[in-house]
Subunit: 145 residues, 2 copies
């Protein structure tokens, strides 16, 4: 027994060769393609790259939202995400590493640590859907570093 | 023992509020945001929508590539993807449905069926990474339908 709250629908349309365009119900798009070596024209990110971006956006939004509640201010925040892709089909990621990078004055590391942990262990739905080992670390720099 | 073939790196940068931009190593981007009800400004697709787009792009490229080898021509191809999102955190999809829609003259349904099956069961790396029940069906229409 489970409760479904919402039905999410997207549409992915073939454009040409390996070029596809994803569209959300609100009309937001993501362009996907692949490299010429496998028949594409490199017009957009590869689906496996888009997957890592979805993971970054998901955990990023959690972290921003939790840090706001903790009154933790930052100037810059980005996440570098690395996936080790297997040689054999299906070419899944065997392991994913996330590096949460912050810049700002007086950012409390324990708050960031807590926010990232809450996202990875409780809130991030994309993370929870990926059956793969994930590791993460946090880097905090002052504005001039 | 496993062989890692390739390291994929993306960067996801916080822009403002819930607005994030993902960038691939080749510079391709995907904009993510959320709705005003949860603090966003709806400047891009939600990460959970982007996840479904990645799934569509991945299986779509497989299917195009397999159908080309089978000399199966089509005029139009799109995939509608629906995810049933859970109410409780983490708000994962409990089930995903893919509807592969083709338009064209003389498309052999058994070829399309075979291509979709091969993608879902063997090749599609995004699909293989998502620990969720997936169902699919195929619709083939003639150009004037």
């Amino acid at each position: 027994m489970y409760i479904v709250d919402e039905m999410v629908t997207v549409n992915v349309e073939w454009k040409d060769k390996m070029h596809f365009e994803g569209k959300s119900s609100a009309g937001h798009t993501a362009v996907m393609d692949t490299i010429p070596e496998v028949g594409g024209e490199d017009k957009g990110a590869a689906p496996m790259e888009i997957l890592l971006m979805a993971l970054g956006g998901c955990t990023g939004m959690d972290v921003v939202s939790i840090l706001r509640k903790m009154h933790t201010h930052f100037d810059h925040f980005e996440i570098e995400i690395k996936g080790e892709k297997m040689k054999e089909h299906p070419r899944v990621y065997k392991e994913i590493e996330l590096i949460y990078k912050f810049k700002g004055e007086g950012i409390k590391e324990e708050n960031v640590e807590k926010a990232v942990k809450l996202s990875q262990e409780k809130y991030c739905s994309v993370s929870a859907m990926l059956g793969v080992k994930k590791t993460y670390r946090i880097e905090i720099k002052k504005p001039m570093e």
